[in-house]
Amino acid sequence: MPCVVITGAGSINALGAGVEAFTEGLRNGRCGIASLTLFDGSSYRSSRAAEVRGLEAPAWLSRPIARRASRSDLLVAIAAREALAAAGLDGDADVGIAIGATTGGMFGSEEQYRRRLFDLPPLRRSVMAATLVSTSADLLASLFGCYGPRLAVSTACSSGGNALGIAADWIRAGRARAVLCGGVDSLCRMTFSGFNALQALDTVPCRPFDRDRAGLSLGEGAAMFVLEEREQAQARGATILAEFLGYGVSADAHHITQPRPDGAGALLAMQRALQESGVAADEIDYVNAHGTATPLNDVIETRALKTLLGARAYRVPVSSTKSMVGHCLGAAGAIEALACVVAMRGGFIPPTVNLEHPDPECDLDYVPKMSRTQAVCTVMSNSYGFGGNNTSVVLRASR
């Protein structure tokens, strides 16, 4: 089986633009969750969000593209450009694109819809066309000349993890020389109001694994990677950031929003990821948890981790970087895979900030408040989505 490696990464989220800003934010345990400014949050239960402040079309985007790009388009284009530049792969037609996304251009199209409802002057006509999550993938293809296989995967909050897995499968099957892959989502009123109505938003910045946790904080951003086969990467002298060892997918088949109480689905995804990776549970030395800070998720995920890791569970650091960048939905799996890469390269464990009061039912080592200097070699990242979608990916430091 060909070995799939990561040779480029790009990032934008509430902690800033660029992998370096993300690294420093995680290392310093900076919380990017603050008051919402993107739209009026006063009529929601919570008006906290991990926004990308001051997002503008970068100068390198042509005017016509900058004018029609949705907020998601901008986020993903910025992250993709950084990833391609890091990999040194700009302008290769045999590059595939796999993105995970759930909101697409909804931030613009919901505004267009509002204007139509109230007979206000409309935005550009292209706003509705950009609603589809796939238009972000189409934009990347034309921006960077990537004409390999292309797919937008939308499995709610596990989308980003699945996009990486599908990209790795394409490399293994010889469907593309390299794949630009990851996840993106932007904040919008539709998802904000939806989680608000489900009473799933905390009124203060989210507190994963905390006794008093009361829900999630939504965020936005993008993380993009370049995946390719190891020998090719070595032959062209690319820097290998990490190895993508494998992934596992399962479904709860239980409920449209609630996870299965016994955590069997989460466990199966983790077991499958380990099996495909040829990694024993004993080898995992950091878990980037889904850790949404909803009362149910954190207990069930903890339970599943204990089953997977056995007695060693108490000695494996587990953290939720959502405490810093919020829950970025379709981008979460990719952003958190990047947090793992950053941890391996930087030799530190990103913390779970805002965790003040331990919960007796969540009693693992969640690396509270401050990052920890520690060598990290083999990591797992979990992503669980609405509808009971579970995805786990396993990464290893480059040798």
Partner: protein, 410 residues
Amino acid sequence: MSTRSISVAVTGLGIVSPIGIGRDAFWRALCAGESGVRPLAAPVPRLAAQLPEFSPRDFIRSPHLRRADRVSRSIVAAVRMALDDARMADAAPAPERLGVVVGSALANVGESAQYLERLFTKGPALVSPMMFPNLVLNAPASYAAMEIGATGVNLTVSQGEVSGEQAIALGCDVVRAGRADVVVAGGGDELAEIVAAAYRDYRALSSQRGGAEWCSPYDADRNGLILGEGAAMLVLESAERARDRHAPIYAEIADYVSFGVPAPAYDWPARAPAAVAGLQAWLARCVGSPAEGGIDLVCGSANGSRRLDACEVDVLTRVFGEAAPQMALTSIKGAIGEFGAAGALAAVATCLGLRDGLVPPLCNLRHPPPDAPFHFARPTAEHRHMEHALMMSMARGGNSIALLFRCPRI
């Protein structure tokens, strides 16, 4: 490369279409040249291929689906029909080895519009917490998993007008990589005023270009597309597994190729010369040189649009060269209209065409395009001996995919 040589068998079909509910009703109507395009009461669109009234409860057993939305119910009904059709009985896979892959451009778009209207007119405190989870693109795949108890791989892809084809291709990959023993793959989409408005913004609808309002793929006088809706699901498993359990096989999927071509934003390309060499090389690996006539039927994605249909004919003419006159070219969108998952319904037609040796017709074709050397079956299905059928499809934005189907090897 090894897993790409694994042949995937299609052993079950389920379909909810504007021309009939269920495999047999759909196939009978399609072969007879019927079209589901009808005038609607709504002003936008004026004409569309709408689903007939049907009772999803005839197919759906799980009580968890009482709150499921309209698209989810169509998709899950198709999933149930497909799985029943595959007659697994003793050979049913373990729940964790059963997967679902759904393709949908917009899924529950009608309720999304209703939800936004309520949000903007009544405020966030009055939107329904029951409605929101159904607006998520993967709600249909999640409901499908609940209905059939599938705890294996569960994926949803969204790729404009080729969402159905992409889901079937991904389903094949899941089977080939051994991530599941059986995958139910396909897709569904629904008609909504907001979708028609988006296509209208790009002057893509037949009604906007003058002349008669109709949907006639490849026709020299075509003037645009007409929207439709529906769902179709295919049961996929390795051909080896299907033969071991002595399952009737509709067709095998030999391989697929997915690629992009340069295209204007939100529109189809006028030409796609870049696609030709890649398709030829891929076909040569699968069935031998395309000019030597290995392919008997091409089921295209043409929808009556001036651009897409011309582009498709151009690419196919270049790919197949001298073999073109011996090949039949068809598209079923005159019967079912255009929508994100239309390709899943076309895949069902392709499988049934191979099984019965029947070319699905172009029900509305009056004037074949003068530059297309292919044979066109019209207005009803034609008998033809066929071994290999190619589905070739292109979405706005240039995302393209070709799937190679063949008669089962016994």
